[in-house]
Amino acid sequence: MTQFDELLSAPLPAVADNGFSVQVMRRIALEKLRRQGALAAVVVLCLAPALFVFPWHEIGMTLGTLLPHIAGSLAVQLAVAVVVLTLLGERAYSKL
């Protein structure tokens, strides 16, 4: 290798980071956020028409007739009792 080639092969002048990487990563985070926002907007736009044709009335009627039966079932009453007792027990235990 000649002296001239050595001169040409000299490393490029060092460039200090000086916050460059942080700035790039900040822009990347913003871009990711924008991309997620755009995706969410697309999902909402796709679902919005479905909300208008959704059978809300029929569902409400069905729930209205079913809920009293569900609430009156022994299994559901027992499950609710267990949950309430567990929460009360946990609160009492944490005060000790």
Partner: protein
Amino acid sequence: MATNDPLARLAAAGDTAAFGVLVRLHQGRLRGFLLRLTKGDAAQADDLAQETFLEAFRKVAQCEGSFFGWLCAIAWSRFLMEARKRKPEPLDEAQEVPDDVPEPENASLAKLDLEKAFALLPPAQRAALTLCFALGFSHDEAAAALNMPLGTVKSHLSRGREKVAALLAPWRRIGVS
């Protein structure tokens, strides 16, 4: 063919932290390369470097071979787009070498004059010489990064080298320390 860089593979799988490490690892050399392409315009070089990294983040799954080589390919295409927008600088035609090359006063200024000589080269020669000499790319790697046939890269290298040699002739007479 996928990339051979494990960090780039992680980034392609959605690991943003891995991409952050890649940015920190390569920003210095990439900005140095762009600084030479933009003839020392630090603001333009940094803008281009940021755009390069953003594009790389979007397309990291398409990265093939060396990550830095691929990054240089993006940077070069961004630089070309920007150069076409800014002013009509000939992208690969030869520029005239001035006759009045000043005699060197001090050998420590050789590198400064090298940068001045590079600034007189057309961008394609500047890029080819920088990739193959300062950044240690093989001719094939440089051809891939610059999206040029191998023969064209070799011709840019040879013409660019001759022109820099002519511009630095006074240094060569006294010997570069």
